[in-house]
């Protein structure tokens, strides 16, 4: 029972660590990893709290949600990676370029 809360706290921690890395890092691959860590944190909260009443009969609905979430995450990651590669091919760097001068007079 306390393990459920303990893992859920770890999930909240993962979400926070991922969000921090997403904001702090400029490299796009790093940001993609950060998004994935955030997602894992959410999934961990979902699954951990499903075992609050003891581990014997966990609630299957959060498990199904997590599997859906994992598949969505891999789809988003694939699209993000290919966009990153294309942007790197255009600019030579895997970071977001700053705004151009002419856009902000």
């Amino acid at each position: 029972m306390s393990a459920a809360f303990f893992y859920a706290l770890a999930g909240a921690g993962l979400f926070s660590i991922g969000l921090h890395a997403l904001l702090a890092h400029r490299h796009l691959l790093r940001k993609i990893l950060a998004i994935n860590v955030m997602g894992s944190g959410v999934f961990l909260v979902l699954a951990a709290m499903a075992t609050r009443n003891g581990i014997a009969i966990p609630d299957p609905v959060p498990h199904a949600m997590i599997i859906t979430g994992i598949v969505v995450a891999v789809a988003a990651t694939a699209l993000a990676l290919v966009l990153m590669l294309k942007l790197t091919a255009e600019t030579g760097q895997a970071v977001l370029p700053g705004r151009k001068k002419e856009d902000n007079p």
Binding site: A24, H25, L29, V71, T77, L85
Partner: protein
């Protein structure tokens, strides 16, 4: 004693997960970061086992760590080919006040989340009872499969569309620099010859067993994709004759079957995806079989990046 050991394992796993995530996001070397991230995924799979979520553990190991790891490493290789200095990411772009205020905000967020989680009621009012009460009419006995393919099948219908959409998006962005081709060598060649059929067999087993034990279309599709990626790495390419229409048919077959069934059920039963209990088991198997093929094909295509026949035309 036993609860003490179990508690120690839980603490170790939770700390390992957080530590690996931290390491993956903080390490200066990008390659190391990816390797740590894959390790993070594998330890997460162990956490899912501890939380009695074996279906999720399989999905995490196969998709979260496996396929995502392969995608990340392939992208890393292309990135290094495109800009050789891309390896070491310059440390965070934020300095000074911006960085400090972000850290304070994140700490506040973490504290608030911790408080919200900690004060959740400890007697649990999930949907486990409803699932158990209706599982006899779902056509399968694995509750997670029942939720994924019957009770909340509509989510899954949209989810397979998300996966296909990611591929459409990937193809529309266009091909990037092709991967450096190295001769596969005899070891990789014989390994893939041996493993590919075995992996296909494992995928079929996972697909079939999903009805009553952990497993299912997504896990099976990921294993199928592993076989495909291995064949790609040892130099195999889709024959040109199959690259256009047949490939697209294979990619769309799963989502199309699912959607067709949804339309038929709305016509016959009145509700979208209402599977008659007598037929539900067989219908779910049909959906899952075609979905496995399409998921596997989609994941392989995502790994390749560009539609077959176009990757050389850079």
């Amino acid at each position: 004693m036993e609860t003490l050991i179990a508690g120690a394992i839980d603490v170790a796993l939770a700390l390992a997960v957080v530590g690996l995530a931290w390491g993956a996001l903080a390490s200066a070397d990008l390659f190391k970061a990816i390797v740590l991230f894959v390790a993070f995924g594998l330890v997460m799979a162990l956490v899912w086992v501890r939380l009695n979520a074996p279906d999720v553990a399989l999905a995490e190991a196969a998709i979260g760590a496996g396929v995502t790891g392969a995608l990340l490493l392939a992208a890393y290789a292309k990135l290094r080919a495109a800009s050789p200095d891309a390896n070491v990411a310059r440390a965070g772009g934020m300095r000074g006040i911006g960085s400090i205020s972000i850290r304070i905000l994140i700490l506040l967020l973490a504290a608030a989340l911790g408080c919200a989680v900690w004060t959740l009621p400890s007697d649990y009012a999930g949907l486990g009872k409803e699932v158990a009460a209706n599982i006899d009419r779902s056509g399968v006995s694995n509750p997670v499969t029942a939720v994924l393919l019957n009770f909340r099948g509509y989510d899954t219908l949209l989810e397979v569309m998300v996966l296909l959409l990611a591929l459409m998006g990937t193809w529309s962005v266009g091909a990037t620099a092709p991967q450096r081709e190295t001769a596969p060598g005899p070891v990789l060649d014989s390994l893939s010859r041996l493993l590919a059929p075995l992996l296909i067999l494992v995928a079929a087993y996972l697909l079939w067993v999903g009805a009553h034990a952990p497993g299912g279309a997504f896990q099976a599709g990921a294993v199928l994709a592993a076989a495909g990626v291995m064949l790609l790495l040892s130099g195999w390419r889709l024959p040109a004759a199959l690259a256009a229409l047949p490939l697209r048919l294979a990619l769309a077959a799963g989502p199309a079957t699912f959607l067709l069934l949804a339309v038929i059920t709305v016509l016959l039963e009145g509700r979208l995806l209402q599977l008659p209990p007598l037929w539900a088991g067989r219908l779910i198997l049909i959906i899952e079989t075609t979905a496995t093929i399409s998921i596997g094909a989609t994941l392989i295509a995502l790994f390749l990046g560009a539609p077959p026949g176009k990757e050389d035309r850079q």
